[in-house]
Symmetry: C2
Subunit: 136 residues, 2 copies
């Protein structure tokens, strides 16, 4: 299952990407438009800013805005920040690799084999999709 965090994060990003002007948008405006709890969204946007996707401005007229062009934002990077590793098991993760305690030999493990294929299929999608693709 996709977490609400990821879902809301993606919705916020698409909302910002759809803006004509690139001026800051308030959290509350995004929250209302996308039916998201404002406080929850606040923490999500914060992590997106810390990850380099968003910029922010404080005070009156403040809010969040996209730093990069939507065409330059790959879903693979967004998903890793919001949802975590692409792989469904750590033993096939490219960025968060860990051995399984219970598994004596990865190469003869059927789960490993299957999950490698699943990982690759997902990587393919996320690498070839940008934020722009989601709004067009």
């Amino acid at each position: 299952m996709l977490s609400k965090k990821t879902k809301y994060g993606l919705k916020a990003l698409t909302f910002l990407a759809k803006q004509e002007e690139k001026k800051p948008i308030q959290i509350i405006e995004i929250a209302q438009a996308e039916n998201i709890s404002q406080k929850f969204l606040e923490t999500i946007l914060l992590s997106l800013r810390k990850s380099g996707f968003l910029g922010s401005k404080k005070g009156k007229g403040g809010g969040y805005y996209l730093i990069k062009d939507p065409k330059e934002i790959q879903m693979i990077a967004v998903m890793r920040v919001l949802e975590g590793p692409i792989a469904m098991v750590p033993c096939v993760s490219l960025n968060f690799y860990e051995t399984c305690d219970d598994c004596p030999d990865e190469n003869s493990c059927g789960v490993h084999k299957l999950m490698m294929q699943v990982r690759d299929a997902n990587l393919e999608v996320y690498k070839n999709t940008t934020l722009y693709d989601l709004i067009s």
Copy 2:
């Protein structure tokens, strides 16, 4: 993340598929070979039996065994039983479709668009992989 239930279920299935003779194998033997809690595995095997993947025999000499040839067992069916829907959001699920309360229009929803592609990529893998592929 892949749940332990799914991981253990897949391991049990591959263990059974690897058997030369197709006589019943006791839960405890699978549990020990694959480092799984016996009682937890018991509930997993039960659901695999109820779903038609396994047969069982009670009493001395009893245990679980595969009903079909590993080449006839598609991962798509196994995954749906163990892990649930393939789709990451109900609004793109083929078998468990539900609308999102928060989303006024699926067709203009970026999350929907992305998750359709992810679903299709995963379906492709799970449909084209059999239990036999995992042990060979």
